[in-house]
Symmetry: C2
Subunit: 464 residues, 2 copies
């Protein structure tokens, strides 16, 4: 145990010494075990995450950055934290993009002969509209190399249809999402470079169904901005099959989405001041904005209510943290990360000392553990606490990516921590109309909040 | 490792020596790791559990022992295994109880003043009917001690309302179910002993909703057989609240359920003969019968399709087992365990050598690991394989209860093994109209089949 600490000091170097409160020992005690049990009991008996989520998803609903609902969510988040009797609740102003889907969104396969076949489509977030109906041939590719190898005349004037499925053999679905996501993000740019008129992208999910999944996309100022839409996986399979028999078919897309001027919005922040080391900050957060389809339940209403619940659990159990614990409802994770960037920039500007930051943005499913982005010695230091989490099935403490909103804090915090829950169902719902409250299980959600609170309690007690 | 084996030999004693094929080493090799990956790949790419379950739940549906649907399920199970090209597929005849719910099932609170309030009720399995409408006062208890302490006149002629909730603080919900289940099983007997006319039982679930949960109950030939019904948790809360304000209210119950003569039914068995030790048998099973509400999806259609999938995965990957692997679809787990008892009795009568038996009857949710009922040395022996399962989130190998249908094999098999998946959602659905196919996630189900096949592969290779 002491060995871990020594290695931590050696590896982390001088930066560590600026923290006043280096823990002498971080080996968990029986008291820790009891206190963690108290946090879980409180969550399972009187947890408020689920009821808070019902309000956020049912009364406010989808809340894309810049929308009136996003502002309602800010007001609600602030009020909800104020009711917790925290030491401080405040807003951080941030300008955010304002993209709107518009009323028209329609896609149809037009076979050479016979009737058109309507497919469920949705504009990717940030896409330009089609300016009326856009009809063109379709060329299907599964890799960038395939696109590059196509003769110019096969692409020019057509829709490029990016149809590479997510890899179903990865047990952790996020890995499959990561690998397939380049099509959605860069499809319109690469299609434009080859003279296409639009991009159609297979939805990023391992489910076989009719929901199109939206999500961010990029443009490159050097090439034309093409409209880009997602097809459901069933729709993509159907289009692919029809193309084989009828390569001359066309696709008609109509989308009235557009980008409006930026809007003033906010991160919502609430904190409990540390009893011993108030200047050392532990952040825990999720993102308050969501895509405009569905209700933003698992993405990321769950992360918001769990982050607020961490503070409530600490208060309700009387476990006043020794370091300052701050819940942040970040604005604009989905299409800009402006809130996350603003939070880190303000922290830097004011010279705040950030011990660690935790993010919950993988859904509110049954807990697994934590993914830690930190030097190996810090990861090992935290792994001493694993045994405390095994009885709650949250004992997976692994090195890995933590989260998007806390990413900008990387150089300021000693550890970034991603709360990890079971990933099997997440991409079935992610960025679709199906991401609704009824998909969330009360106990899974509350257990997640308790897992997060337990690790924050240990961080606040022992430091890093 | 050898130490483990030696201790195994010492503890398990002579019985062990009757197995020809004691493994020299059970430490997993790189080949094992690769073969397990192949099993998972096959399951995730081409798994048939989900499609089989769709058929069983959608085309056949609920299949209580003795019902025409139970017979259809037997025929379907046999045909499905025959299509797998196994070495043997056969039926084991077994007589089963035949209880039917009947057309009438209604419960109503009758306040002293004002209109009646209808509650969702369902007869507990095996209950006698009410013979028309049965109206009586209600006395609520939460413990047996409370019931025993009540003066006789407070109970006589009334419904005893057993309203002890499941304990929400247990992380493993099965534990809470186990502790609260005595009310459902013994409520009618204890109520009868005190002169009551019926039993009303709070549903065994941690959810707050309107579904009543059925399940088995017992009678004692020494006392009257009282009708017994489950109330939903919302209904139970409502009745409890109204009773406080209006202790003189009455409850009217009408149920036309009855027990018919026993019916001939079957276990369905399919097997792959072991390539080296054909006489040593590893059983893997679930139960084919279900309660008559819902579709018997998570209880236990999932266990049936996973057990058959174990055989399919071994065949599809070419991993012919060294010991005989036998999938069993047990009949009548829910209200008699006749199939499980028959299976063990036949095994004993024919002198079969059973190495291990595995059961999947906790739902088709995301895998956790295995619960092992065996001497400590055998558990430790199997725990050597844990590291192979950690990448698949199935690494929890713990000593504990294995399963109801394989229970009768306890003295014949060296290890009984319960497949364990996440338990948070299970009792939301268990024994209700909500236990339907749409609650099952394809990947969670297929991952479970792969976990089970992987452990069976190791058992068939290394023995115990």
């Amino acid at each position: 145990m002491r060995l871990f600490l020594c290695r931590g000091l050696l590896l982390a170097g001088f930066g560590l010494l600026t923290f006043a409160a280096q823990a002498q020992t971080a080996a968990p005690t029986k008291t820790d075990s009891i206190n963690i049990r108290r946090l879980y009991d409180e969550a399972l008996l009187r947890g408020q995450s689920y009821d808070n989520l019902r309000h956020l998803t049912g009364r406010i609903g989808a809340r894309l950055s810049g929308s009136p609902q996003a502002q309602q969510a800010v007001d609600w988040g602030k009020l909800t934290m104020e009711k917790l009797g925290l030491d401080r609740v405040y807003l951080q102003e941030v300008m955010v993009p304002h993209w709107v889907r518009g009323a028209k969104e329609k896609g149809e396969i037009k076979p050479a002969k016979g009737k058109g076949i309507e497919l469920n489509v949705c504009a990717l977030g940030g896409s330009v509209g089609t300016g009326g109906k856009l009809r063109a041939g379709v060329v299907e590719v599964k890799t960038w190399a395939e696109l590059a190898a196509l003769p110019a005349e096969k692409v020019k004037g057509k829709f490029v249809f990016f149809n590479r499925p997510m890899n179903p053999t990865y047990v952790e679905t996020g890995r499959a999402y990561g690998e397939a996501g380049d099509q959605r993000r860069n499809g319109a740019i690469e299609a434009a470079k080859r003279g296409a008129v639009g991009a159609l992208v297979r939805s990023l999910t391992l489910a076989h169904d009719d929901f199109p999944h939206t999500g961010t996309m990029r443009y490159d100022e050097q090439v034309a901005k093409l409209p880009a839409a997602a097809l459901s996986t069933n729709g993509a399979d159907q289009l692919s099959q029809l193309l084989k028999a009828d390569p001359g078919l066309t696709f008609e897309l109509e989308m009235s989405c557009e980008t409006l001027p930026e809007v003033k919005s906010y991160n919502v922040v609430g904190e409990i001041t540390g009893s011993k080391y108030p200047a050392e900050i532990i952040t825990v957060g999720g993102h308050l904005d969501s895509w405009d389809l569905g209700q933003g339940a698992h993405d990321d209403g769950t992360g918001c209510v769990q982050s607020m619940e961490v503070l409530r659990l600490l208060k309700a159990t009387g476990l006043r943290p020794e370091r300052t614990v701050r819940a942040v409802l970040f604005m604009n994770e989905e299409n800009g990360v402006r809130g996350g960037e603003k939070y880190a920039a303000l922290a830097k500007a004011t010279g705040e000392k950030h011990l660690a930051a935790m993010e919950s943005d993988g859904g509110g499913f049954t807990p697994r553990g934590f993914s830690i982005e930190a030097p190996a010695a810090v990861v090992q230091h935290m792994q001493q606490w694993q045994p405390l989490f095994v009885p709650y099935f949250s004992g997976a403490f692994e090195a890995g990516h933590a989260g998007t909103d806390i990413g900008p804090l990387k150089d300021q915090a000693k550890a970034l921590i991603g709360y990890r829950c079971d990933s099997q169902r997440y991409f079935d719902l992610h960025h679709t109309a199906a991401d609704t409250f009824d998909k969330v299980n009360r106990r899974e959600l509350e257990l997640g909040g308790a897992s997060m609170a337990s690790l924050i309690y240990l961080l606040s007690k022992y430091g890093l």
